[in-house]
Symmetry: C2
Subunit: 142 residues, 2 copies
């Protein structure tokens, strides 16, 4: 009983929106489980190596002044610290503390490990979905 929809693209976009909505919730939940906000958690996840505030703003697509507050709150919890840039004294790089790295890894593990969405797919189908999403995601990148 395949649906006789005329426009597959419409369906795909609507499904993407539905999945987006669910993922937003999962991020909220994983963040709250570690006493974080969603924005704080997302920032941590993007923090592999010490990163200038301005680049975080670019990656997270928001105003730089916004990053100040989020980093302030993370720093207050000792998850992150501002370190100076060796060559440019204007920039402050944000670095994970050891606690921050632990929390970051825990949040990441929780997001990956607890996604009920994948339960519907077997191994081959997951690989198929991975390949399709990889190509879709490329289109969104700058």
């Amino acid at each position: 009983m395949t649906p006789l929809r005329r426009d597959v693209s419409t369906d795909v976009v609507h499904l993407l929106l539905e999945v987006t909505f669910a993922q937003r919730d999962r991020i909220e939940a994983a963040a709250r489980a570690h006493d974080l906000t969603a924005s704080g958690a997302l920032l941590l996840l993007h923090l592999e190596s010490p990163t200038p505030m301005s680049e975080l703003a670019r990656v997270l697509r928001c105003d730089a002044s916004n990053i100040t507050g989020i980093v302030d709150r993370l720093a207050a919890h000792d998850l992150v610290e501002r370190v100076e840039h060796p060559a440019d004294r204007r920039v402050r790089r944000v670095a994970l503390t050891s606690l921050g790295r632990r929390i970051r890894d825990a949040v990441d593990a929780e997001l990956v490990g607890s996604d009920p969405g994948l339960d519907a797919l077997n191994s081959d189908e997951r690989a198929q979905l991975r390949d399709l999403l990889a190509r879709v995601a490329t289109q969104y990148r700058p």
Copy 2:
């Protein structure tokens, strides 16, 4: 050059998160293009027929008191109106105005029509993605 990652699920979840992030931006943009906030736009999109506030809170997964404010702002722009429930005078159903329906359809069309993600896929692949996402999305539903 297929990546030799050990865990396909990890990749899929990370890609889902990346796509989620991009979609969030697309919703923001489509909303702003019609002088809406993202929350207002999402509420409009979920508004097919007159719907009680409490159900909107359930669907949008937030506190009922939150809906009050969002509906207030939408109503101030004449996109939505509160109508009384014939059988239960406690209930206030939120209904699209004719302007609201126009805006809602425009936002929806914009979201569907302007997704660059699908440009990477041909027709068969879109159908494949649709089928996979449909099964994934089912897992998220209550």
